[in-house]
């Protein structure tokens, strides 16, 4: 491999000025392997029960060991009950998978947040809240929503099981750099608009494949005004734009959030770290492959109407007519979606009753999400015929919510207050929709069958979901 073989898109060490993404890449590039591929160092590997057993089995077959157990953390989240902390609560097959994770972590000295651990929870909630996610890191997990951690200015992306095995064995990945996109959101964003609405608005604008091949950096006053929880929600949904990863440059909001977290640097290391983290931003004259401007003032609360996150409208808009879509494949997809969802073009979603309300997931299962939802239900009752569940993203979120009395607000309103887990986001457990049931969900995917075969998912913010629980249908939030 000679330098002349490096493709134009390849990031060379002499390239100046740089984007945030390019800076992080450079810090982690161990070696150039040729054909534009680099060997990239991984700082943090997060593991869960569903996408790891085959990777550990692969290591065993080849007599390989885990290269850096102390950089690897595991949790149980997808395939767990949110009604019980017993490992066999949802059946033998799930128990076998959870036991496999237990044994694999034990055999390889990997810290595991199992069902009996007070800090167990969803992998993308647990990492950040413990300070396992730090600015400038490379973070991977066998889960597409790993993009969440980009909220801290970390390069974080989902990988497949073969790559999980590669990281376990070597703490590296063979990677090619992505293209870069910057999305600037002007401010101010209306108070009734949450990070979820900003994300849904962008997916509507960009499409679910608009970010394919790109790492997206979000910036501008509309982004810097967001809390860390809001930034996590936004970056989490980056994968629904097809992006390889999403980034927000770290700032005082980030540092304030991290200070004192269990795994955050302490003392002199903290000072050193913050000094370095302040350099983690795109240079002023850095060139992006694509730039997009979003007017924050124009963003309204959103609801998805179809079976793709890009099939989304503002709450006051009618469902679009497939006949007005020029692209025939998209038109067919819209017709299929309307049929599956039991809806018609021109209908307003504020006229559509819901059966189930789900508040939780790696998108919206953090303390701030439950505070926002509780504000909508305080002193009110869940509408007749609606089943509403609130599922904290982790043990820490649950305890904090209980300290603040949020659990009682939900319970008194008629919600079920559950144990942490992925729950109804993907219905890999016993929380799922029945065919035809319509759900206001704070999760991330409204694909056909995602929440259960025949289930109909509408993606919304925690505020909108909670308001739908009280009103029995989608409604504007104040």
């Amino acid at each position: 491999m000679t330098n002349s073989q490096i493709s134009k898109s390849h990031i060379s060490k002499t390239y100046f000025p740089k984007t945030l993404y390019e800076k992080i890449w450079e810090h982690h590039c161990i070696q150039q392997l040729g054909h534009g591929t680099d060997l990239v160092y991984i700082d943090r590997h997060l593991v869960h029960e569903v996408t790891s057993p085959q990777a550990f089995a692969g290591l065993r077959q080849k007599n390989r060991r885990v290269h850096a157990p102390s950089k690897t953390f595991a949790t149980m989240d997808h395939n767990v009950s949110t009604r019980s902390r017993e490992i066999d609560a949802i059946g033998e097959v799930s128990e076998k998978q959870l036991m496999a994770l237990t044994n694999n972590c034990h055999d390889n000295q990997i810290q595991l947040f199992d069902l009996k651990h007070e800090d167990q929870g969803i992998v993308h909630v647990v990492g950040p809240e413990q300070g396992l996610t730090l600015p400038g890191m490379t973070i991977v997990c066998g889960d597409s929503h790993t993009s969440t951690h980009g909220a801290f200015g970390a390069l974080a992306f989902g990988i497949g099981t073969s790559e999980v095995e590669h990281v376990l064995a070597t703490q590296t990945l063979q990677q090619q750099p992505s293209k870069t996109m910057r999305i600037h959101v002007s401010g101010p964003v209306s108070k009734s608009v949450s990070a979820k609405d900003i994300a849904l608005h962008m997916i509507q604008k960009l499409g679910t494949a608009g970010g394919t091949g790109y790492v997206i950096e979000f910036c501008g006053p509309g982004i810097s005004a967001l809390t860390m929880e809001g930034r996590m929600t936004l970056c989490n949904m980056g994968i629904e734009m097809g992006a390889r990863a999403a980034l927000v440059a770290p700032d005082e909001t980030t540092f304030k959030y991290l200070k004192g977290k269990d795994h955050a640097p302490k003392g002199q290391h903290w000072e050193q770290a913050v000094t370095f983290w302040k350099t983690l931003k795109s240079d002023e004259d850095a060139v992006f492959d694509q730039e997009i401007q979003v007017d924050g003032k124009q963003i309204k609360p959103h609801v998805t109407w179809g079976t793709s996150p890009e099939q989304v409208i503002a709450i006051d808009e009618p469902i679009p007519d497939p006949a007005s879509e020029a692209n025939l494949i998209k038109q067919q997809a819209m017709e299929n979606a309307l049929k599956y969802m039991g809806l018609e073009a021109g209908q307003k979603l504020s006229d559509v009753p819901v059966d189930i309300v789900f508040i939780g997931s790696c998108t919206n299962g953090r303390i701030e999400d439950f505070r926002a939802a509780a504000d909508q239900v305080r002193g009110k009752q869940v509408a007749q015929g609606v089943t509403a569940i609130a599922v904290p993203g982790s043990g820490r979120v649950k305890r904090q919510a209980e300290i603040e009395g949020l659990d009682q607000i939900f319970i008194q309103a008629g919600f079920e207050w559950r144990e942490p887990g992925c729950s109804m986001c993907l219905a890999m457990n016993d929380d799922r929709l029945e065919p035809g049931q319509r759900c206001a969900a704070t999760s991330n995917r409204n694909f056909e069958g995602r929440q259960g075969r025949g289930g109909r998912t509408h993606l919304v913010s925690p505020q909108m979901a909670a308001a739908a629980a009280v009103h029995g249908r989608f409604t504007h939030v104040a």
Partner: protein, 202 residues
Amino acid sequence: MQFFHSGQVLPLDRNNVDTDQIIPKQFLTSVDRDGFAEALFFDWRYHDDGSENTDFILNHPDYQRASILLTQENFGCGSSREHAPWALQQWGFEVIIAPSFADIFFNNCVNNNMLPITLPKKTINDLFALTANITSVQLDIDLANQMIHCGGFAPIAFDIDPEVKRRLLSGLDFIGQTEQHASAIHEFEQRYHEKFPWLNPF
């Protein structure tokens, strides 16, 4: 001529086919790497009562030996589950042709020695038009020369990342390949932990 793959095309004329459709979540509880062929496109293949949906092309008798999937944009979007390429491969697919793929799915295919081919929309639509008239469209995929041969029709050239091509043609053990750089990784770790001492967990 030695082709990377030769086989029959199965057309699936949908965009945004997500990995939840390719293999629904109830099959992800397995700890094994095989046994997923029956789970492929489960919700489209079977009715609620468990009977076969004979309208779905995967159940059509003429396509039972198909090994090249022709489909539309953003194939494999959504979840990172590698179970999706496992299920496709175990059913019989070795090549997938589409205007675009989701990133993680694309990498997962390559890591399982499956070839994802990206073609312009017009070429994709021409291929769909062809499969609408003939059920047994056979393609010969020449990866080395990046050409698709289709009977009497003009061959179709395709672009592919040279690294992906190299990987698929060499069938390397990538972990083994990376392990050859063990000393570079070790030296990097030492430098790195000196520079960023707060990241050193040891």
